[in-house]
């Protein structure tokens, strides 16, 4: 039978391409007729993008795909081709600079990648070949090679573990560099492989490479002479991933299955999709406006030029004849080239340097987040992490915060609180006597021994000890075999307390520790048998037959063990909702009360059930499980089916309550976020009651908040059809929350301290899917919009019982709603990844549930409390800085180019530049770039402490307030005003160009230089006026830039430059300074240009620290559970003193 199946599968191989066959050690095996070594890629890792040869073309191509770079390239080409007023250098040099800097940066990054690649690829490894160990370079490993890895080495490719030096055929690895989880994971050898790898004759069949780190399906055929080939199933527990490190194991042998770019690590290199910030969108909108200004300027000038030229004698006076070429050109072509020339002349209005400055600001600015010592968590010895610097300013724009509960709002630091066995409650005996008022009313509280039958107790505790996947950390042999424990129940010996457990979920550790408190200690897993020490200090051994793994869909896990007496037992633990339907009803009733009360108190509850399997039952289950595990396709589904089949008609023995403490300062953080006008939504997979109490504890729901519930429970209340009830409730809530609510002004001005009735909204996953995907006959879109409107009018929304994908769905719904609000998701677990990726800003918490959230986030912080500073201080400042940067850049280029435009009216529309080419080029690069860059990095218009204390300040910049059309118009008008002033002020001065005291006259370059000097000083001083935070750096760059301008002008005009065709500026600047009139006009114009700004600053209502702030006093909150509980039990009517 087995044989037939193998043949069947082999036969299928030709057709199926989604599996690969690997010949272990490249030895042909008897099952296949001809040994054809299959082609797989080699083990070379290529993470670099470029080679020396293709770097230039490829990099240039990539860079010019950016629309801005392409635009400047076009301008440059126009300058080269057409006879334009400014030399190609003026736009070519900045473009060249930008392109070069970017290319160098990318080249450097690529070089680093090359270096890392080289290091990895040349790393020596030992490969077993023909019985000998051969040193090879890592890149030469081929699929099928048997590789030797010693302790603390990383695996050079994805290996199937064949042999380990450990006795129990396991090895430990840490995947810290893959997913950040630093705990040791156990991997198993393929069972029953031969000790002598040389004679091992086997093939491995496995799926084609795929990026999921935690999934692997494969099968190994072992051929032995004169025997039926044996088949072993291979799972992720047999696969050693490239990048992981071998620990606690001397040496292993494994066969390479995936190499090089096909390893799971390499497949995970792929970048995330780029997120764009709202500021970037604003920049693009402004760019469009400026492009329109640019084109209309060019059109106006071109038109006027031809109108003017049509007059007699103006087109070609005798003193200024055209060249033959010009005469020969067609009029329309000439018009077109004239248009292009004007475009080129005015193109400085859209500066290349803005992109550079914005990029630099973002890049350098994000260092402040990593440097912030307030984000440093001494516990994990890590600070904040910035994965992308593109979204810094978005942190200041957040309107919706989606937060995970477990691990984010709560610590995910599980503490066993109590258990309930057969309807009787057992609390940790130490604290029993101190327990006060709020404790149980529904069950007697007393010593463990006086409760449910001893058998039941022990069964329950054994269940806790056995039903898990916890490992015992091996600190040393002495500690494990430590001396006997004499205290039975409450007395715990020191070594036990110190014993480290490692588990994927902290709940399990808490439960095992809980069982320890009651006298049952889990000693570890050895040779597939679990050792526990019972209350009598006897060691019991159980053979671990199967582990039915936990998964979020089933929400439970089981183990099948065989005791020494030969009984086969199944222990199952899981969420109440998943256990209750699978046990007898009368048992449920006894325990349900406890479970629900515990849930209301904010504990995580798990129910424990067991089942005795008859040998027949076990045989069926065993076969089913083995079959399912061997399946290559749909293994998950098949396993699931078997699991569901096995885990039936169990008997409930008890329930546990584990407390998950609130994160430090969770309540303050939430309060601050709400005060800042953000709406906080809690998205959790947890039960409604637990989540609700967490919400109260975090003050997301306040005393007066009216809760609108839309859950399965409320839907089933009416006894009618769900859809009808849903419709009714939605309309009802909508009326309450949306229609009857007083109109809200502009969304953000509503203060939470007003007397308005506040609403909290609760929805669960099942109902949500009803709302999101209703049956086709109902008016579906209506539900969604009703739902959304209700949600948007509530101060806090709680979504419980959410699947990960539903979380993302919610985020997406809000993200795409009217006004496209900026969303932020924060979470710590793998189940939050989807919502982190979906939201505008994804924040990962470096929590205990691994590093997946951190890896996929844009920013990662160690604790929830850091979110407050990240948003209120960093986000606020970044936004203000970049908004100012953008506005300032447009402004300074507008008043730079406007005089040049106006000059066209006085030079016969001939595209004569007002400024010298050097000034045109240097203006944005040197003279005015550094002060704004320093400003945009250092400005703190309001002190950080003050920002943190006054969350309401965050509302002032909400909705992209500083980049709306209003402020943009102000800056534009200011630019136009100053541009007009510069040009006409100097023009009136030049009505008599004899400006020197020796009667000599100034020419056109002096004119331009005076305008330019006024310009540089004005825009720099304008920035100085806006600077509220003058550090020495600001002083240095602002005054330094001005000094540099003066120095440069002297220098540039002081030498006859041999490479210049025309010595236009020769001594122009020096002569200008020798004229008193020039000095006077410069001072006058600078002052006059800044006057409106000064006035506005004085007249405008003082902002920031000087604004009147109402401070509300709130009770100091901690993470006290007592507080949280008193809230929930007293029907949420706690009071505070004001």
């Amino acid at each position: 039978m087995l044989r037939r199946r193998i043949n069947l599968l082999f036969g299928g191989d030709e057709k199926r391409v989604d599996s690969r066959t690997i010949y272990v050690g490249h030895r042909p095996c008897p099952a296949t007729e001809a040994f054809i070594p299959p082609k797989f890629c080699d083990n070379r890792i290529v993470s670099s993008k470029y080679t020396i040869w293709n770097f230039l073309p490829k990099n240039l191509f990539e860079q010019f795909r950016r629309i801005a770079n392409f635009y400047f390239l076009i301008i440059f080409l126009v300058q080269v081709i057409v006879d334009t007023p400014t030399s190609p250098v003026t736009s070519g040099l900045p473009l060249f600079f930008v392109i070069t800097v970017t290319a160098i940066k990318q080249g450097y990054e690529d070089w680093l990648r090359h270096k890392a690649d080289y290091e990895v690829n040349k790393y020596p490894v030992i490969v077993l070949e023909d019985g000998r160990s051969i040193r090879k370079e890592s890149e030469k490993i081929k699929v099928g090679d048997i590789v030797e890895v010693v302790e603390d080495e990383t695996f050079p490719c994805d290996l199937i573990l064949l042999q380990s030096t450990r006795d129990d055929d396991t090895c430990f690895v840490t995947t810290a560099s893959l997913d950040g989880e630093s705990n040791h994971k156990t991997h198993y050898t393929v069972p029953d492989t031969e000790k002598d790898l040389q004679s091992l004759n086997a093939t491995i069949e496995c799926e084609q490479p795929q990026p999921d780190l935690y999934k692997f399906v494969g099968r190994m055929h072992i051929y032995k002479t004169d025997q039926e080939p044996a088949v072993r199933s291979l799972g992720p527990e047999n696969l050693l991933l490239k990048g992981a490190t071998l620990k606690n194991t001397k040496k292993i042998y494994g066969v390479a299955v995936y190499t090089g770019m096909e390893t799971k690590m390499a497949l995970n290199y792929q970048g995330k999709s780029q997120k764009r910030s709202a500021v970037e969108k604003s920049i693009n909108a402004f760019l469009l406006v400026y492009l329109c200004i640019l084109i209309s300027k060019a059109v106006v000038c071109t038109t006027l030029k031809y109108v003017w030229q049509s007059q007699d004698g103006q087109d070609e006076p005798w003193y200024n004849e055209k060249t033959q070429k010009e005469k020969d050109t067609y009029v329309y072509l000439k018009m077109f080239t004239d248009f292009l020339s004007f475009m080129v002349l005015f193109n400085f209005i859209i500066p290349v340097s803005m992109y550079v400055t914005v990029e630099m600001q973002k890049f350098l600015g994000s260092f402040f987040i990593t440097w912030d010592k307030d984000f440093f968590d001494p516990e994990i010895q890590e600070g904040a992490l910035v994965n992308t610097s593109d979204l810094n300013e978005e942190l200041g724009q957040v309107e919706y915060v989606f937060t995970d509960k477990t691990g984010t709002l709560t610590q995910n630091n599980m503490e066993y609180i109590e258990c309930c066995i057969d309807g009787f409650q057992y609390r940790n005996s130490d604290s029993m006597s101190e327990l006060d008022g709020f404790c149980v009313t529904d069950g007697p509280v007393s010593k463990l021994q006086q409760k449910a039958g001893r058998d039941k107790e022990e069964l329950f505790l054994r269940a806790l000890c056995l039903c898990h996947t916890v490992q015992v950390k091996e600190a040393g042999p002495d500690e494990i075999d430590s001396d006997q424990v004499d205290g039975l129940v409450s007395e715990l010996s020191q070594p036990d307390e110190q014993r480290g457990f490692i588990a994927s979920s902290p709940d399990e550790v808490a439960l095992v520790k809980g069982a320890m408190k009651h006298g049952f200690t889990f000693l570890g897993l050895e040779n597939k048998s679990m050792k526990i020490r019972n209350r009598e200090n006897n060691v019991e051994l159980y053979d671990l037959l199967h582990v039915l793994n936990f998964d979020p869909v089933r929400r439970r896990m089981s183990v099948i063990v065989r005791s020494k007496s030969g009984e086969t037992l199944l222990f199952c633990k899981g969420a109440d909702s998943s256990i209750f339907p699978r046990v007898r009803q009368e048992e449920v009733d006894r325990i349900r009360m406890h479970v629900e009360r515990n849930a209301t108190e904010g504990y995580r509850t798990l129910c424990v059930a067991y089942k005795q399997l008859s040998p027949e039952e076990f045989a069926v289950a065993d076969a089913g499980l083995r079959d399912a595990r061997l399946a290559l396709q749909d293994r998950e589904e098949k396993l699931m089916a078997v699991y569901n089949q096995v885990e039936t008609s169990m008997s409930l023995i008890g329930a546990t309550a584990v407390e998950d403490r609130l994160q430090e300062e969770a309540a303050e953080t939430m309060e601050a976020l709400q005060g800042a006008g953000m709406k906080v939504w809690v998205l959790t997979g947890d039960k409604m009651e637990t989540a609700k109490s967490t919400c109260y504890a975090c003050r997301l729901f306040q005393r007066g908040t009216e809760l609108l519930e839309l859950t399965v429970r409320t839907l089933e209340d009416g006894g009618r059809k769900r859809e009808e009830r849903l419709h009714e409730l939605l309309l009802d809530y909508h009326k309450k929350a949306v229609q009857d609510a007083p109109p809200v002004k502009a969304g953000v001005t509503r203060s939470w301290s007003t007397a308005n009735q506040e609403y909290g909204f609760i929805v669960d996953g099942a109902t949500l899917s009803l709302v999101m995907n209703p049956s086709p006959d109902t008016n579906s879109s209506r539900y969604k919009s009703l739902f959304l409107q209700i949600c948007q009018n509530c101060t806090a929304v709680l979504c419980c019982r959410m699947a990960p994908l539903q979380k993302a769905q919610i985020v997406k719904m809000v993200k795409n709603s009217k006004g496209s609000p900026i969303t932020l998701s924060i979470g710590d677990g793998a189940n939050d990844v989807s919502m982190i990726l979906e939201a505008h800003v994804g924040i990962g918490i470096k929590g205990k549930e691994g590093r997946q959230a951190v890896r996929n986030s844009d920013y990662a912080i160690p604790k929830l409390k850091h979110l407050k500073k990240l948003l209120l201080a960093h986000g606020h400042l970044y936004y203000v800085r970049i908004a100012h940067l953008v506005q300032y850049f447009f402004y300074k280029n507008l008043c730079f180019i406007l005089p040049q435009f106006l000059y066209q009216f006085f030079c016969g529309y001939s595209q004569q530049p007002l400024y010298d080419a050097a000034y045109l080029t240097m203006y944005n690069i040197c003279f005015t770039s550094m002060p704004i860059l320093a400003f945009s990095l250092l400005e703190q218009h309001i002190a950080i402490e003050y920002l943190l204390d006054n969350a309401t300040l965050y509302r002032e910049i909400a909705k992209n307030a500083m980049l709306k059309w209003g402020p943009f118009l102000y800056w534009t008008v200011l630019g136009i005003f100053q541009g007009l002033l510069f040009f006409f002020g100097v023009k009136y001065l030049f009505s008599n160009p004899a400006l020197q005291d020796n009667g000599q006259v100034f020419g056109n370059w002096s004119y331009g230089t005076i305008v330019f000097t006024v310009l540089v000083f004005t825009v720099t001083l304008k920035l100085a006026l806006d600077t509220r935070h003058w550090t020495w750096i600001n002083h240095f760059v602002i005054w330094g830039s001005l000094a540099f301008y003066v120095f440069f002008s002297f220098f540039w005009g002081g030498i006859i430059w041999p490479f210049l065709k025309q010595q236009r500026l020769y001594f122009v600047f020096a002569n200008m300074l020798s004229s008193v009139s020039a000095w006077l006009v410069i001072i006058l114009l600078i002052l006059l240009s800044l006057l409106p700004d000064i006035l506005l600053m004085v007249f405008r209502k003082p902002r920031g620290p000087h604004a009147r702030q109402m401070k509300r006093r709130l009770p100091s909150s901690g993470t006290s559970t007592i507080f949280m509980l008193s809230q929930t039990t007293s029907t949420h009517s706690f009071s505070w003193s004001d």
Binding site: V120, S177, K272, Q1062
Partner: protein, 368 residues
């Protein structure tokens, strides 16, 4: 090994977006420096009515006297302007303007009488002014070869392309090439004082010091050094088409001949606006007793060479004294007085506001 992996991972994730983080920060406590914690000591100026108020008064108090000073100075500058274009038939130069031809060998002369109502006391500067003459036209501005003008011999032989269409004439390079040089102003202006008794005295006009010193001595140089025979040096080239004499015959004085002729240098400094004036001559004060130009009657003798009718231009002769602020220009004085007054006025308004509403502002200044 592990770190190199993680570095790569970072790179892959960011895909071009520069992120500074990653490798550096893990497991390391950030430095507690003022810069990194954004706590650099900083001066935080706050512009309030209280701080700006004195500034306004000070600006007002400084600007108004300066403005008055400028205005008075400008008013004290004597300026006389006479238009000699000859567009009107009654004008003495009408004939010259009408019968103009480039090739006429006999120069056309016209005489314009005028009267100075007031004596010009100090040095008098004589300007010629042109209107509607676009010296700032792009094609015109760039039509020159500065290296040729700097005495570069190769540029003398092969002038820059920018000089087109005034680069070559009959296959000989033009020196000085380009439209600017070609259209050099070539009217000759002479000033005669008519004594009350009727005798005409030629007023001596000085042509030294009308161009920028640096232009004359550095930027413009004759080819072949200062002592070379200009005639020989310029033999390879030909004169600009509109010129009557070649460049080495601009003046008899070798210090003012060729490219370093000051009239030429002044012309080569292109004007900023289509209406401009250029310094032509300086009439130096003789002694302290007599004014440089006493009040009375004068005649301006013009050798009319320069046609402006074709583009509706105007030609003027301007006599002006000069003060420390340059020529006569009331703009600066008026502007200073206006701005000063506005500042002062604003100061008063602010003071009023500050006084009336100041208390409230003050109390809000104190952060709780």
């Amino acid at each position: 090994m592990a770190s190199s992996y993680s570095a790569k991972e970072e790179d892959g994730q960011r895909a071009g977006a520069p992120g500074p983080a990653g490798n550096a920060n893990s497991g390391k406590k950030p430095d507690n420096t003022a810069f990194k914690q954004q706590r650099l000591p900083a001066w935080q100026p706050i512009l309030t009515a209280g701080t700006v108020l004195p500034a306004f008064f000070i600006i007002g108090l400084i600007f108004i006297p300066i403005g008055i000073g400028l205005f008075v100075t400008s008013n004290n500058i004597k300026e006389f302007e006479i238009d000699y274009t000859g567009t009107d038939s009654w004008s003495p130069c009408y004939n010259c303007a009408q019968n103009y031809s480039w090739n006429s060998s006999t120069p056309c002369r016209c005489t314009l009488p005028f009267t100075l109502e007031q004596p010009f006391e100090s040095n008098v500067f004589m300007y010629y002014g042109l209107s509607n003459f676009y010296q700032n036209h792009r094609r015109y501005v760039k039509s020159r070869d500065d290296s040729q003008l700097n005495g570069d011999l190769s540029s003398l032989k092969y002038p820059s392309k920018e000089c087109e269409p005034y680069r070559l004439n009959e296959n000989k390079p033009i020196a000085p090439c380009g439209a600017i040089a070609n259209s050099m102003f070539n009217d000759t202006l002479e000033l005669y004082y008519i004594d009350p008794n009727g005798t005409q005295t030629l007023i001596p006009l000085m042509k030294k010091g009308i161009a920028w010193w640096t232009d004359k001595h550095v930027k413009f140089r004759n080819p072949g050094g200062s002592n070379a025979n200009l005639t020989a040096v310029f033999q390879v080239s030909t004169k600009p088409v509109n010129w009557r004499n070649p460049v080495y015959e601009l003046d008899s004085d070798p210090e003012n001949n060729g490219f370093i002729n000051e009239d030429f240098i002044v012309w080569m400094r292109t004007a900023a606006l289509p209406t401009f004036r250029k310094l032509y001559r300086i009439i130096q004060k003789k002694n302290n007793m007599t004014p440089t130009l006493p009040r009375g009657n004068y005649t301006l003798e013009v050798v009319y060479n320069y046609p402006v009718n074709s583009f509706e231009g105007r030609k003027r002769m301007i006599l002006s004294t000069i003060s420390w602020m340059g020529g006569k220009n009331p703009f600066l004085g008026i502007a200073y007085i206006t701005v000063g007054s506005v500042c002062f006025f604003l100061g008063v308004v602010l003071l009023f506001i500050h006084h009336k509403y100041g208390n409230r502002n003050n109390s809000s200044d104190i952060p709780n």
